[in-house]
Amino acid sequence: MSTPTLESPPAVPEEIQSFTVTLSVRRFNPEVDDEPHWENFDVEMYATDRILDALHKIKWEQDGSLSFRRSCAHGICGSDAMRINGRNRLACKTLIKDLDITKPVTVEAIKGLPLEKDLIVDMEPFFASFREVQPFLMAQNTPKDGKERIQTVAQRERFDDTTKCILCAACTSSCPVFWTDGQYFGPAAIVNAHRFIFDSRDENAAVRLDILNDKEGVWRCRTTFNCTEACPRGIQVTQAIAEVKQAIMRGKP
């Protein structure tokens, strides 16, 4: 007596191919090193893994001293902007399959901000510029009947692109003018000013235009388009800066 068996064995799930990826990470420990240096790590990765997963693997399995910022790991919090193969990217949105893994993938901290440790920079100068443009709604009037301030679809559409900013600093730290002396406000601050300058509910556009009509304001932009290329949210950053320039010339949004 034989037990009934299936004619053909159930299809074995095809094994997903994995790759050995070499990550070249620019390390810096302020307590030991005078200068940053490059260190290579080999990690086993799938094509659908991200650079952030590779960094996690290194930190959890190889070298616990590797330091980097990350919070949500899904491209919303803006913590893990870094220079991957020489381009500013979010580590959590950069897939292994999109990189050339025949060579080591370089990972380093974003440029132009003071380096603190490994992939961590001091973001304070970046946020200081952001604060300077007064990125909050300023309206003197009270809305009718104590209700919300009404806006048409077209009025909302006007500044929709610049509401997407997650303040990851990928744009500002890709800007060659910002690299020179760090005095330039930087694309991110201008994008966030743009978001309120062109908001029909806001009444202090003139103040922000005056702040950005500065020696270190919008006029230092050379339209290099590095910021637009770097933005992980696809904001047309250079266009936003140009629109602020136009608004300054008109004297109103």
């Binding site: 940053p36 370089t106 380096l115 500065d214 020696k215 304001g217 300054i248 010339m249």
Partner: protein, 150 residues
């Protein structure tokens, strides 16, 4: 390895904002306006000098002397001189602002640019408006041949 920009270790402090006229905006507008005007002036200049009539073979001392005796071409050339030199000088100034890192280097380079622009504008304007191909009372063998016809 990718070329890297050394990261600063200490935070920057933004220089306090100066009051007064903001020249950056006017500099930016000047670059756009003069650029458009210069396209017309320079291509007009090249067209008249190199293509019209006999073309480039007509270019000689007499051709230039003839043009510079005409008030229309005098003003054409002077506007080209002023617009182009200030346009170029301002462009060089922004380059210095972007690339010179120390205050002293910045000051020296920007003053050198200013001196070069002013000297060239003054000399050029002087030449265009005071140029005389046949100065009176000069020995005839030093003058171009067409002066005898005058």
């Amino acid at each position: 390895m990718t070329s890297t920009i050394a990261a600063p270790r200490s935070p920057y402090a933004r220089a306090p904002r100066k009051n007064g006229v903001n020249w950056e905006k006017w500099g930016w507008i000047y670059m756009r306006v003069s650029g458009v005007v210069l396209v017309v002036l320079i291509f007009g200049h090249l067209f008249v000098n190199l293509l019209v009539g006999e073309g480039v073979s007509a270019l000689d001392f007499a051709f230039v002397a003839g043009k510079l005796s005409n008030p229309f071409w005098q003003w054409w050339d002077v506007s080209m001189l002023w617009l182009a030199l200030i346009h170029g000088g301002n462009g060089m100034r922004t380059l210095v602002n972007d690339y010179a890192t120390t205050r002293v280097a910045r000051g020296i380079l920007k003053s050198a640019i200013l001196v070069a622009v002013v000297v060239l504008i003054v000399l050029g304007t002087l030449v265009v408006f005071t140029f005389d191909a046949c100065p009176a009372g000069q020995p005839a063998d030093l003058l171009p041949t067409f002066c005898q016809a005058l």
